[in-house]
């Protein structure tokens, strides 16, 4: 069969790629499920699922994991039939396919650990063999005329034509962008791959068709690619993204206003179609890209307002009477705030809708683990920014998986402990304030085993839940000897922490009780784009820190900060001192020293108090400069990715002002919960 000599080296890359493909397969199954629930078919997702499984099958055959070949082959056959039947899968089939994916995961992890391969239940193979496509949904009459030349039309599948037509009915433009590759363009970084990425960022690419064209100076290869897409972007923006002239962008059909009598697919699966009707009446779909554009214009407006404010201050300093100007500016500021909140409201999505997807996850977990689990969702009417929802959802999924996998006991054990056999996992969401969302994931399982976590991390047993959470979030820690099949080896608590704390600037909390259950609390901002921030000066440089991360600003009395012995920093004062705050001693750190700017010349008089996971720390700064509404942009270049710096903002002077993440900075200094314990 395969030659171990040459191909054995590929084991690690095989495992890496298969893991990605399995994640993709799960995601496509969820997408298919969501479409089915709306009464639509999703040919694209079925094809992508097929492709992922097919690649897993081929790779597994190469490295000799035969049971995976057997399972994926059967799944593939079922999907091929489905594809012919227009992408329609009966809902129960999703369950069977999810079981198939789990079984593949188990085989792959056994291969990874050199363990004994699990036995594929014959019932699963039979169930996969028995899968049959459901009835195709009635074809929607395609009343949208698309202007396609025969060579292009021929290359499109029926579902792709449908997608184009549907997009046009929903109010987007169907556009064709032509790109001819050449060596010069490739050298300048313009290839079909990059063009596709760039253009794909401005809309939804339905298909890219290669075409033979006469070889000319502009198309030396004698080929061109026609990118067919649905978009809200302008011709100019598309041409720029593709690196072509605007004449290479042509409409396929004009966008239409969404017709109220657009052929609605009757939906028998939704619990209450009437409720949906009420909800949707008078609503319209908006392309997220358009909202981003509006948001960007707003950001520019906020920046120029800040500049006006500075000019005004300069005039005042020169003794000019600016009262009328100041009033006008105040008015202007209020209007900008109103505009901002209107735009933000448009970006809001109901959290309940996003959480609904968890039902499918739990259904799959129930099957895979054999545990009895009920999922209670309670998100009420809470809404949050789409960007936040998209980021936080994977963290919630992980916590739910962990709960079912590690926390919930088997039914027999639960009975023995006097608990109801059916366990409960509850995901709730409330708006904590106008700016913050609180998500909780709780279970009534066995609670986190502190001793075990400590043993695995080779650390002392943590006191208190905050210290326990800190341990759990150490990179790569898993409390199980082998990664479980459902949680996989992919995302650990460290990733959950990164999403919540670093990416979203939020807070992660844990409460757990042996035998009774565990609750994770995620506090994240409702929106990402514009934040309120304090500006302050430190080491003659201006910095920003988000308001939401600062507990309070306190005055520092230099005479009352005590520094203990610090044998490790010989000759210099230690980095951490102690000051009093409302009757308790808290650590205080000179921020300029913490940032590596060297010793400070005059004592600090103000400090920013930051609290996380119940720990409090004060960062001493030179002076506060006031409060601003800023647009924080992440610094993505590798040269600028530094722990403690969350991004930068333009305060109106055209220069970047760094936005600090004091919590991350604390970790960089080794002042995490474990490090600060001695100060309490």
């Amino acid at each position: 069969m395969t030659s171990a000599g040459d191909l054995g080296d590929f084991r690690t890359s095989y495992l890496g790629e298969v893991e990605e493909l399995l994640a993709a397969a799960n995601a496509q199954l969820l997408a298919i499920d969501a479409s089915l629930r709306k009464g639509e078919s999703n040919v694209r997702a079925v094809r992508e699922l097929f492709r992922a499984l097919h690649t897993i099958k081929g790779l597994s055959a190469m490295v000799g994991v035969e049971p995976v070949v057997a399972i994926t082959h059967r799944m593939e056959s079922a999907l091929r039939a489905t594809d012919r039947a227009n992408g329609r899968l009966p809902l129960p089939a999703i369950d069977v396919l999810l079981r198939g994916v789990r079984m593949v995961e188990q085989h792959v992890s056994a291969y990874a650990d050199d363990g004994a391969p699990p036995v594929t239940p014959p019932g699963l193979l039979d169930a996969l063999d028995a899968l049959e496509p459901g009835a195709a949904p009635t074809a929607v009459t395609n009343e949208v005329a698309l202007d396609l030349e025969p060579a292009v039309a021929k290359a499109l599948a029926a579902f792709e034509l449908d997608e184009l037509a549907r997009g046009v009915r929903e109010g987007r433009r169907a556009v064709r962008v032509d790109f001819a590759p050449s060596s010069e363009r490739a050298a300048a970084g313009l290839t079909i791959t990059t063009v596709r990425e760039q253009v794909g960022g401005l809309g939804e690419i339905v298909k890219v068709v290669p075409l033979s064209v006469p070889a000319t100076a502009t198309a030396p290869g004698g080929i061109a690619f026609a990118l067919l897409l649905l978009t809200a972007a302008s011709d100019e923006a598309l041409a720029r993204a593709a690196g072509v002239g605007v004449e290479a962008v042509r409409p396929l059909a004009a966008a239409r206003a969404p017709a109220p009598e657009a052929p609605a697919v009757v939906d028998l699966l939704e619990p209450d179609p009437h409720e949906q009707d009420v909800h949707r009446r008078g609503a319209m779909r908006v392309d997220v890209g358009r909202l981003d554009e509006a948001m960007e214009s707003l950001a520019a407006l906020i920046v120029s307002r800040a500049r006006l404010g500075r000019e005004l201050a300069a005039l005042t300093a020169r003794g000019v009477d600016v009262r009328d100007l100041a009033l006008a500016l105040q008015d202007d500021s209020r209007r900008i705030r109103d505009l901002r909140s209107s735009i933000l409201r448009i970006r809001m999505v109901p959290v309940a809708e996003a959480l609904e997807r968890l039902r499918l996850v739990v259904r799959g977990l129930r099957r895979a683990s054999g545990k009895l689990v009920r999922l209670d969702l309670d998100a009420g009417q809470v809404e949050c920014d789409k960007a936040v929802a998209d980021r936080v959802f994977p963290a919630v999924v992980h916590l739910v998986r962990n709960a079912v996998d590690h926390a919930i006991e088997a039914p027999a054990e639960r009975r023995q402990r006097g608990k109801p056999e059916e366990a409960s996992v509850r995901v709730a969401c409330v708006a904590r304030s106008n700016t913050q969302l609180e998500l909780t994931v709780s279970d009534d399982g066995r609670g986190v085993d502190r001793e075990r976590v400590a043993r695995r991390a080779s650390r002392p047993v943590p006191e208190g839940d905050a210290a326990l959470l800190h341990l759990l979030c150490l990179a790569g820690l898993s409390t199980r000897a082998e990664a479980s099949t459902t949680s996989g080896r992919g995302m650990g608590m460290d990733i959950v922490r990164r999403i919540v704390v670093e990416e979203l600037g939020g807070e992660l909390l844990l409460r757990t009780e042996r035998g009774a259950g565990t609750t994770f609390t995620l506090r994240v901002p409702l929106t990402l784009a514009v934040v309120e921030a304090f500006a302050f000066e430190c080491a003659e440089q201006r910095f920003l820190v988000p308001l939401a991360t600062v507990d309070e600003i306190v005055e520092v009395d230099p005479g009352r900060v005590a520094y203990g012995p610090s044998p490790r920093s010989a000759g210099a004062r230690g980095l951490v001192g102690v000051m009093e705050r409302r009757g308790s001693a808290i650590p205080v750190v000179d921020l300029d020293a913490a940032l590596g700017f060297g010793a400070r010349r005059s004592p600090a008089l103000r400090a920013l108090v930051v609290r996380r996971d119940g720990d409090v720390i004060a960062f001493a700064v030179d002076r506060m400069l006031g409060q601003h509404e800023v647009v924080v942009r992440p610094l993505t270049d590798p040269l600028l990715k530094v722990t403690g710096v969350a991004g930068a903002a333009d305060l109106g002077d055209g220069r970047p002002t760094l936005v600090l993440d004091l919590v991350a900075l604390r970790v960089r200094l080794g002042l995490g919960p474990a490090g600060s314990r001695g100060v309490r």
Binding site: T2, D6, S183, P210, S212, G222
Partner: protein, 127 residues
């Protein structure tokens, strides 16, 4: 020099193929991760042989073969389809579209090496 284009959306698969073919005398490898990228590379540079996966995002191997065969300068290019056991239907369609040969996964390094050196010798290509 024998210029070989290896087309597969799976990076592992591309690397396996290149590892198997290292011993082809004077071979130089170019990799493409999608059907579109393959067509682009073929239009801009001369290749002596293509190894082609069938299942890829954007456009699949069969569409690539069809397109290649419609180009005058690529009509004689040897195209080896790398397929997986059990893909009989797609194999027939690829043959119709103009594929030259098939290699079935799992394959041994020796088998694919023999196939490729045979084709390169037959076309007298190495320039």
């Amino acid at each position: 020099m024998a210029e070989i284009l290896v087309v597969d959306d799976s990076k592992v698969m591309r690397e396996m193929l290149v590892a198997c073919l290292r011993r082809v005398p004077g071979a130089a490898f170019t990799q493409a991760a999608s059907g579109l990228e393959a067509i682009e590379r073929l239009s801009l540079k001369h290749f002596d042989l293509v190894l082609l996966d069938l299942n890829m995002p954007d456009i699949g191997g069969i569409e690539v073969v069809e397109f290649v065969r419609a180009q005058d300068k690529l009509r004689a290019l040897p195209v080896v389809i790398v397929t997986t056991r059990g893909d009989d239907g797609s194999r027939a369609r690829a043959l119709q579209a103009g594929a030259t040969r098939f290699v079935t996964k799992p394959f041994t390094p020796e088998a694919i090496l023999a196939e490729v050196t045979g084709l390169l010798g037959a076309s007298g290509a190495p320039r």
